[in-house]
Amino acid sequence: MKSNMIKKILKYVLIIFVAALFFFPIYWMATMAFKPFPEWTAAGEKLYWFPEQPTLDNFREIFVRRTDFKTDISSTATGPIINSLIISSLGTLMAMVLGIMAGYGISRYKAGGQLPFFLLQLRMFPPAAVLIPVMIMWAFLRMVDTWYGLAIIYGVVTLPFSTWLMKTFFDDIPSELDEAAIVDGCSSFGAFLKVVLPLTKGGIASTALFVFILNWSDFLIAFILTDRKWGTIPVYINKLQSATVGQLYGPKAALGLLAAIPPIVFGIMIQKYLVRGLTFGAIKK
């Protein structure tokens, strides 16, 4: 009895500790977004665990440019937010369309032999190693600081993930299902479209979310391949610093808080598909 109780307590203490560890940065960002300058600045002597005088100043700072801080930022955060939405979505769309088809081909037709593993290996390169050549290529193609230039590189960079993940989802679907549709008169592509795709909705949704988050949170590629016009949120956050105060933690936190919204909304939207298994397998087990 007693040892059971202790076990239970220990378990919950551990759970709370781990949860706190993960949630603390989010908590800190969320509260800092509402702290006035003296509370978030590093110059303050006191540590504020909670905003004492909550304010929307930080949001005003990023959306309505003020002159409190001397910065060389020439635009508000509206542009980067729109840029991020467009570019990340397009990159995700590209990675998903290609990844779904490539994954299906690899899963069903064993296309490419060792290709899937080779694709995954590509991701083991440190991005910085390939970025300079990419930048030269992009400059040559006049794609630096364009929406499509960044969207294409996002699509390419996340393609191995989408291909690999989708392949595993397709592997789970018995090939008899496609064959049954083909025997009934479907073309191979028809069977894929009408039978296999509806069954992989959950896989598609979760892969898309994963890829979107990768694109959405990328800093390095966007930092190198964009300039004034098509900078994304992470690039803009990086710019939020001033000659007088240094890092503008308050406005950074405010924009970070806003940046967290789209993936969360996306996640909630596809939540029912994330529960895997329900849609899978009418097949004997």
Partner: protein
């Protein structure tokens, strides 16, 4: 309806030959079972007939028309898969309608046909249920209905009953037989279950190691197995096989202290002509083997020790072993009340006409007494 001709079909996967020089001539409206252990090439054969797989060489004809280059959907075959391949996110109705919609039938026609099939299979109640919620029995019926409804010329069934429990299997087996009789479609039925094959099929094609062993009626396959494999595969419990050496008209049984199996005068000459070498195997089915206590006569009786018994209600299977170390377990089917004690010594009795004689080296049946 159609007749099917498979002409020298070969299919290999890498280094492995899945089907080797397969020739089959299946008549219009015939129910053929393809029987064999796992990996013998049964399913590969089916997939080639349906067009899901292309043979490496050889030709497939339906009604005399070559089918090799006809795409799957245009061959007019219905395929019931072992795992049913039901589209779970659709209702049973939508599953059955799938093929008809692809063939662009009108809604009225689709409804009419589905209702007919549903009535035949007693599936009316389940029609509008989500396929994922169907019982395994109904799923099986939906799979059947889905291929029946398109009225294929040829019906391919890949172990359709293997996922059902024993009782349901018996029920569905009877139903399948009725349905096939009613529709008179050419049907090919893949199974590893000899009882299904024996009870359903007009003819059975027994396969092993990618090679067709025998293609005959169920009774022929049972009574005149072409070789040791077919003899051993058909029949439950399996046939008793006794190693023997041919010696001037009689057989010396190595497993029974070299006792002699004397052959009657009328068969001697024929066996002498047919045998190519002296190492042979004598086969006798458990149902033809009778056990008795009396140890008498000329000293040539075969005796064996009871190892275990299996009372099955309607009959009792007795397992025995001869006193030599090399001998196989011998099975005998006795009456339901027969209860010998373990370790008891019994005499094996059988009639000469129930014996099968195989060449041990070629494994072929040489003589049926």
């Amino acid at each position: 309806m159609a007749n099917i001709l498979l002409d020298n079909l070969v299919k290999t996967f890498g280094k492995q030959t899945a089907v080797k020089n397969l020739c089959l001539d299946i008549k219009d409206g015939e129910f053929v079972a393809v029987l064999g252990p796992s990996g013998c090439g049964k399913t590969t054969t089916m997939n080639m007939i349906s067009g899901l797989l292309q043979p490496d060489s050889g030709k497939i004809y339906f009604d005399g028309k070559e089918m090799n280059n006809v795409p799957v959907g245009k061959r007019g075959v219905g395929f019931v898969f072992q795992n049913y391949a039901i589209f779970t996110y659709m209702t049973a109705f939508e599953n059955i309608a799938f093929g008809l919609k692809i063939k662009k039938l009108s809604e009225g026609d689709i409804n009419k046909r589905i209702n007919e099939v549903a009535a035949l299979l007693q599936l009316e109640k389940a029609l509008h249920m989500k396929a994922s919620r169907l019982s395994i029995n109904d799923m099986q019926k939906v799979a059947l209905a889905r291929s029946m409804v398109t009225e294929p010329k040829i019906f391919l069934l890949d172990e359709p009953l293997s996922n059902l429990d024993a009782t349901l299997r018996n029920v569905m087996r009877a139903e399948l037989k009725n349905i096939q009789k009613e529709l008179r479609q050419t049907a090919i039925y893949v199974t590893h279950d000899q009882i299904e094959a024996m009870s359903l099929a007009d003819r059975i094609a027994v396969m092993n190691f990618a090679v067709l062993q025998q293609f005959d009626t169920p009774l022929k396959v049972y009574n005149r197995p072409k070789n040791l494999f077919v003899a051993g595969f058909i029949g439950s419990p399996t046939i008793n096989l006794l190693d023997a050496v041919y010696d001037s008209g009689d057989f010396i049984l190595a497993d029974f202290q070299n006792k002699k199996q004397v052959v009657s005068e009328k068969n001697r000459a024929r066996i002498h002509d047919l045998l190519k070498q002296e190492k042979v195997v004598l086969g006798v089915r458990p149902e033809h083997l009778k056990l008795s206590d009396s140890v008498e006569g000329n000293g040539n009786e075969l005796t064996a020790r009871v190892v275990s018994i299996e009372p099955l209600g309607s009959k009792t299977v007795v397992y025995l072993k001869s006193d030599s170390d090399t001998g196989n377990v011998i099975k005998a089917i006795m009456g339901s009340d027969y209860r010998p004690k373990v370790d008891q010594v019994k005499t094996l009795n059988f009639r000469e006409k129930d014996l099968y004689l195989f060449d041990k080296i070629s494994t072929e049946l040489v003589f049926r007494f």
